[in-house]
């Protein structure tokens, strides 16, 4: 066999690929689910923390900053492993899926809180004053004047961060989640052929190229146009 034939047999083996396609398709669906759940919960909790922080209640803000820094500092894999192997010892068993979801949600929450917070504080003080001077309350001003402006400028960095973190779903393979990478790996050991990995890579591309393109579009669309 020539070098290329050798490579083709190992990595582009159609027979093996066809055989394990359904498994990897399932992994694809699982990855999408996991990613969607992480994005929804992570962004919602990040925004909630930033809004709470804007009320300026000192001890609460210290707590928020501590939690945010903690989850920004820890490598996501460490959090996943800790939650998966550590929590059962504390009497709280989590499935691999739940541990991965919770870990990446916390990481996205932490990063998005910082981005939302930067967005909220970037809104000019004059906006607050104009709104309050017409009789709107703090909360009404936050909701109708400040948050809409903050969201607009947070969209590009948020999109990038969200994409980066959803790619972390591959880490779930470490704790037995059959997402794309996990499904590919087990297919690879069953078939003793690495072609399923190739299939997995293709699945990631199919999933993330549109997402990355969307991120690029969002970035150009919202780039400081007012």
């Amino acid at each position: 066999m020539t070098g290329f034939e050798n490579f083709a047999f190992s990595f582009l083996n159609m027979k093996v690929m066809a055989q394990y396609l359904p498994q990897i398709a399932q992994g694809f669906v699982l990855t999408v689910w996991l990613a969607v759940l992480i994005v929804v919960a992570g962004l919602a909790s990040g925004l909630a923390l930033a809004l709470v922080r804007s009320f300026g209640i000192r001890p609460l803000n210290w707590l928020i900053i501590f939690v945010v820094d903690l989850f920004r500092a820890l490598p996501p894999l460490v959090i996943i492993v800790l939650l998966f192997f550590g929590l059962p010892a504390a009497g709280l068993g989590l499935s691999g899926f739940a541990a991965t979801w919770l870990s990446l949600t916390l990481v996205l929450m932490a990063f998005s809180e910082e981005i939302f917070w930067a967005g909220l504080t970037s809104v000019h003080k004059g906006q607050w004053e104009a709104s309050r001077s017409t009789g709107l309350t703090f909360t009404q001003t936050l909701r109708h004047v400040v948050v809409p402006q903050a969201l607009r400028i947070t969209i590009p960095p948020l999109t990038n961060r969200t994409i980066a973190i959803t790619k972390g779903t591959a880490l779930g393979s470490v704790v037995g989640v059959s997402e794309i990478l996990g499904a590919s790996q087990s297919a690879m050991s069953f078939s003793a052929n690495p072609s399923p990995l190739m299939l997995g890579a293709i699945a990631y591309l199919v999933l993330f190229i549109p997402v990355v393109a969307f991120g690029r579009w969002v970035e150009s669309r919202f780039a400081w146009k007012r």
Binding site: E129, R132, T134, R226
Partner: protein, 251 residues
């Protein structure tokens, strides 16, 4: 000139003190504004004019003193400040329009959320206010699509739509190109003719001469001189007032 003594002053501020850290910005300032009067405040930069104005709607809280506006004790903890602010309009040097909202939405926001008006009713009031500042045709423009002068007029419409009892203007034309100043001043002129009570911080001396009932000169957190425009501009008592007016007139 209108009679300043027919009814109690709408704005009554007494002995206002304000410190920022070690810096004392207001040193026992008094201010009274009778209904339908226009009080014009001048003074060098940093003399506390903005701070005084901002105390009058409690964007700043004075450390000491008393403020009553239209019978409401502004500094009492029992006062609902959001309710009080409906009656006190403010216009800022930097316009501060909401950039994500059209001119109409800028005006209707408080009408709907503060006064609780329905959408249609608020739209009618917004159109009326925008017509008054000559921008009825620009209702659906965003601030970025308007000139500075137009933005400032929308900001005035946003304030007057709430039908305030007093309007506070903090250097409303200072951020404008010279050719846009006139449009804003004529709107203010019209407001004054219609009987609005106004407190104006500005360097537009010609406007003060034509429209002010009282001119106040402030320096270093104190009211140094007060009187009708003719007196302050033609026969200032203090050397500081004199040199300040000379300096401004040269511009």
């Amino acid at each position: 000139m209108r009679n300043a003594h027919s009814s109690p002053p709408i704005v009554q501020a007494h002995g206002l003190w304000k410190r920022f850290g070690a810096l004392t910005v207001l040193k026992g300032v008094d201010l009274e504004v009778a209904e339908k009067q226009l009080v014009f405040i001048i003074g060098p930069s940093g003399s506390g004019k903005s701070t005084l104005l901002r105390c009058l709607n409690r964007l700043e809280t004075p450390d000491d003193g008393a403020i009553t506006i239209d019978g409401i004790n502004l500094l009492s903890p029992k006062t609902d400040i959001n309710k009080a602010r409906q009656r006190i309009g403010m216009v800022f040097q930097s316009f501060n329009l909401y950039p994500h909202m059209t001119a109409r939405q800028n005006v209707t926001l408080a009408l709907r959320k503060v006064l609780g008006r329905g959408k249609e009713e608020a739209d009618i009031a917004a159109r009326h206010a925008l017509d008054r500042v000559g921008l009825g045709e620009r209702m659906d423009h965003f601030p970025a699509q308007l000139s500075g002068g137009q933005q400032q007029r929308v900001a005035i419409a946003r304030a007057i739509a709430l039908e305030p009892r007093v309007m506070l203007f903090d250097e409303p034309t200072s951020a404008l190109d010279p050719e846009l100043v006139g449009g804003v001043l004529s709107v203010m002129r019209e407001l004054r003719e219609s009987g609005m009570t106004m407190v104006v911080v500005s360097h537009e001396m010609a406007f003060a001469r034509a429209a002010a009932d009282t001119v106040i000169f402030m320096a270093d957190g104190e009211k140094l001189e007060e009187g009708p425009p003719a007196q302050i501009f033609e026969q200032p008592q203090h050397e500081r007032t004199r040199s300040f007016i000379r300096q401004i007139d040269r511009h």
